[in-house]
């Protein structure tokens, strides 16, 4: 072997190397998988815990089958299989490392003559000699008896070393060698090892390795790059096909403002999506429209698995459409698109009675006859009457229906305002957001039931530093919304709300809609008796809608309309006017701290001068010179407080 490198002939190093590489990938992946498995198992385990209801129970047979087929198990999937293999390999390598004997330390370790002779540094030559003699007697190969072959070998090695160590400390040349090169035998050969067995590179296995290299670099890598590139090229960031996005864009451009947008318009647009052509190559947009209609009229017998695939894709497409229509600032199309999404969630054609029709066990004919349209009206009726309105005959079925109905949250607006973090008023040119406080309730609970049950501090924003740092945190800190009751939809949907702001002046949307996944639904669990008690506390839900542009420069009133919709249930949306009153910030009350003046020439002094100079200018414009001294003082105190903080 002429190679300069020594291979890992005894498989001592490469398993360690492989183990390290493998665990770098496997351990984080396992943790991540475990986290998702545990967090996702939570909402599905509680089948009817009051705030969510397992819609699989009421899903029609074909939907159930489709869901089962497409539902990916969190553990038994490709990733799980890979993880299993990886852990097996880790186990194998660990075993291998454990069972392989490391080359004996004696020969490979650092040469330390003092240690070998078991004496301290600076021992006299005489003592060294006597110690050496003792040891030679103990380790001399001739003295060893009754030992196994291996032990004999080890002792022999040790004897040689001891002799060397003795020489290193007594013999002149050996000592020199030891001092110069760290070894009594003179310079040692340096060797570089490769943590791969030789067979893999120079032996019989080398063609295999070459083949692996060729497939990786020549085939797998180009394939991955190519598929990634074609995907980024043909799909937008929102995950829809480019042709679909272009189609939406064209429809938006050619849309006549005089036309009234309906769910049908949106269905027509959706049906032309390129994605459907890819799923069902033989069908035209009319066929897709037929599929939509069949699904929305709940004729599941007409639908095949590929049809369900089409339906399951609709929310993605609607999200992309909304993205485009919000860029065009079109309120009607955006709003109707979300209505369409609701229709798909519940598999219902647009109808004024949808609030009742979304419940299970309902007879549409009976509902059509009744004048009641709202869920909240229905649930306040006596049970017998509810039966009549919904056309339900058995008590058990009615209970089931009511169980579902009481998981559908209805929102009641209690407070809404524009907020600028850290300010009492909305100041010009600042970053504002809309804070909306709502009471979540079931249809059976009355708005008046909640009077006096809300803690006043729930209505106000917290005044903490944490809040100032991230005012949106209080929204995401609310419990996550459970899966929605959408038994007809081919996949389980996590409940979601969407909010967008409309400028009243031109009736157009300000920014892209904002989605919400968090809202406290615990009010749904309050029973009638609990609501009667004085001591019961109701929860207040918070939505915060960011306002992308800075507030106007001119103080004044600006009117907006805020819309918050559920994407899953037919319930009355929150839709209310909101006025943004832009004001100059009020003068801060003068507080005099008894703090010494800043030293002349210090940083604080310079800052104060700079600031005072700037403020004086503004002051002159506004009111004259009277307040000048006050302002100055105020600034002094301000700066000085800072200095004190630093000192403390």
């Amino acid at each position: 072997m002429n190679s300069k490198y020594s291979y890992d002939e005894h498989s001592t190093t490469w398993p360690v190397f492989a183990l390290a590489l493998l665990s770098v990938a496997t351990v984080p992946l396992t943790i991540q998988t475990l986290v998702t498995v545990f967090s996702s198992s939570k909402p599905t385990t509680g089948t009817s815990d009051g705030v969510s209801y397992d819609d699989d129970k009421h899903a029609p047979e074909p939907v159930k089958k489709y869901r089962k087929k497409t539902q990916k198990s969190h553990i038994f999937n490709k990733k799980g299989f890979f993880l299993l293999l990886a852990w097996l390999a880790i186990g194998f390598f660990s075993f291998k490392i454990y069972s392989t004997e490391a080359p004996s330390d004696v020969s490979s370790g650092v040469f330390d003559p003092y240690e070998l002779l078991e004496i301290g540094f600076g021992t006299s030559e005489k003592e060294i000699k006597s110690h050496y003699k003792k040891l030679t007697i103990k380790y001399h190969p001739d003295k060893i008896r009754n030992k196994s072959e291996e032990e004999k070998k080890e002792l022999e090695e040790r004897f040689v070393l001891i002799t060397k160590a003795y020489k290193a400390l007594t013999d002149e040349t050996t000592r020199e060698n030891f001092e110069k090169y760290g070894h009594p035998d003179g310079p040692q050969e340096t060797s570089h090892g490769i943590a791969l067995p030789k067979a893999l590179i120079e032996g019989a296995l080398s063609p295999v390795l070459l083949a692996i290299y060729i497939t990786l670099i020549g085939l797998v890598l180009p394939y991955l790059v190519n598929s990634w590139w074609t995907k980024t090229k043909s799909y937008t960031k929102k995950g829809v096909h480019n042709e679909t996005a272009t189609m939406f864009l064209e429809n938006m451009l050619n849309f006549k403002p005089s036309e009234i947008v309906t769910v049908d318009t949106i269905l027509q647009w959706l049906s032309e999506a390129k994605e459907f052509e890819l799923i069902k190559p033989s069908s035209t947009s009319d066929d897709i429209l037929q599929v939509f209609r069949a699904y929305l009229s709940r004729s599941n017998a007409k639908l095949s698995d590929s049809d369900y695939e089409v339906i399951a894709l609709v929310p993605t497409l609607i999200n992309a459409l909304v993205d485009i229509s919000a860029t065009f600032r079109n309120t009607d199309i955006t709003n109707t698109a979300f209505e369409t999404l609701k229709s798909f969630s519940q598999a219902l054609l647009p109808s004024i009675k949808n609030e009742l029709l979304q419940l299970p066990n309902v007879d549409p004919a009976a509902v059509a006859k009744s004048p009641i349209v709202r869920l909240s009206k229905l649930m306040k009726l006596p049970k017998e009457e509810i039966k009549k309105v919904l056309g339900i005959t058995s008590d058990a079925k009615l209970q089931e229906t009511l169980d579902v109905a009481s998981t559908i949250p209805i929102m009641n607006l209690v407070k809404s305002e524009f907020k600028v973090t850290g300010e009492k008023v909305v100041t010009p040119q600042s970053n504002a957001h809309i804070s909306v406080k709502v009471i979540v309730k079931t249809g059976a609970q009355k708005n008046s039931d909640f009077r006096g049950k809300i803690a006043p501090e729930d209505m106000e924003e917290p005044d903490s530093f944490e809040y100032l740092k991230d005012p949106f945190k209080i929204v995401s800190e609310q419990p996550e919304l459970p899966t929605a009751y959408t038994p007809y939809f081919p996949a389980q949907r996590q409940a979601k709300y969407v909010a967008f702001i409309v400028v009243q002046k031109d009736g157009k949307i300000t920014d892209s809609p904002v989605f919400f996944h968090n809202l406290d639904l615990s009010n749904l669990l309050l029973t009638e008796e609990e609501l009667k008690l004085e001591s019961t506390d109701a929860k207040v839900g918070t939505f915060k809608i960011p306002f992308a542009q800075p507030t106007p420069t001119e103080p004044g009133k600006y009117q907006f309309r805020v819309i918050i919709k559920s994407l899953d249930y037919f319930t009355p949306d929150l839709d209310f006017p909101l006025v943004m009153t832009v004001e100059e910030p009020p003068r801060v009350e003068e507080i005099s701290y008894d703090i010494p003046e800043a030293e002349e020439g210090s940083l604080a002094d310079t800052m104060a001068q700079l600031k005072a100079g700037k403020l004086t200018e503004i002051d002159e414009e506004e009111e004259g010179d009277d307040d000048e001294s006050d302002l100055e003082e105020e600034d002094w105190s301000d700066i000085n407080t800072d200095t004190e903080d630093e000192d403390a």
Binding site: I260, V373, R374, Q504, R561, P572
Partner: protein, 195 residues
């Protein structure tokens, strides 16, 4: 360079080339054709002035007066017919006539017709007219009211509320809008079983 449309020398009409179906282009071509037709049918040598044609103005005035008269006499069906006719007469104006005048005429007729529809309980038609009116002439109390009333009667309480609220943004102290909003809010509460 070949364009995706052809020109017929005899009829002086432009049409889309075969095999091309572009609706946006087709619409523009239709508009162009209409303009050409209007222009070629003029008997005078010089194109007419953009002043509104007196003949049509007179006919319109008569028709609108008739419509409003029927409205006052509570013959709503009659009023709708007359006002629809008035709208058609208005459409006969040539395209180069003053646009501002045409728009305000259309708005006037639409307003009257919308009222007639509401009186005649044709709320869907009234809703369409009011929607059109709101897109051409936002800043009027009456149009917000018209749309809201149509929506209220169609059972679209939420939409009525939104429109009234929007109207109140422009006319903060308008009593009619505020009253109607109160009415709608009450209706919503009743519908929800709150009141």
């Amino acid at each position: 360079m070949s364009l995706p449309f052809d020109y017929n020398n005899e009829t002086k009409q432009v049409s889309l080339s075969e095999g091309i179906t572009d609706e946006a282009l087709l619409e523009e071509i239709n508009q162009l054709n209409r303009l050409i037709k209007d222009l070629t049918s003029i008997t005078t040598e010089v194109p007419e002035s953009p002043e509104p044609s007196l003949q049509i103005t007179n006919m319109l005035k008569k028709m609108i007066a008739g419509g409003v008269e029927s409205l006052k006499k509570k013959q709503f069906k009659d009023a709708v017919t007359k006002l629809t006719l008035a709208l058609e007469i208005q459409h006969r104006r040539t395209n180069w006539e003053h646009f501002g005048v045409q728009l305000s005429e259309t708005n006037g007729i639409l307003q009257a017709r919308c009222d007639a529809y509401i009186m005649n309980k044709q709320y869907i038609e009234a809703y369409a007219d009011a929607d059109m009116l709101l897109s051409t002439q936002v800043n009027t109390v009456d149009n917000f009211l018209r749309k809201a009333i149509a929506e209220l009667n169609l059972g679209k309480l939420q939409e009525a509320k939104v429109d009234l609220e929007r109207g109140l943004c422009f006319h903060e102290n308008d009593k009619r809008l505020a009253d109607h909003l109160g009415l709608v809010n009450h209706a919503i509460a009743v519908e929800n079983g709150e009141a």
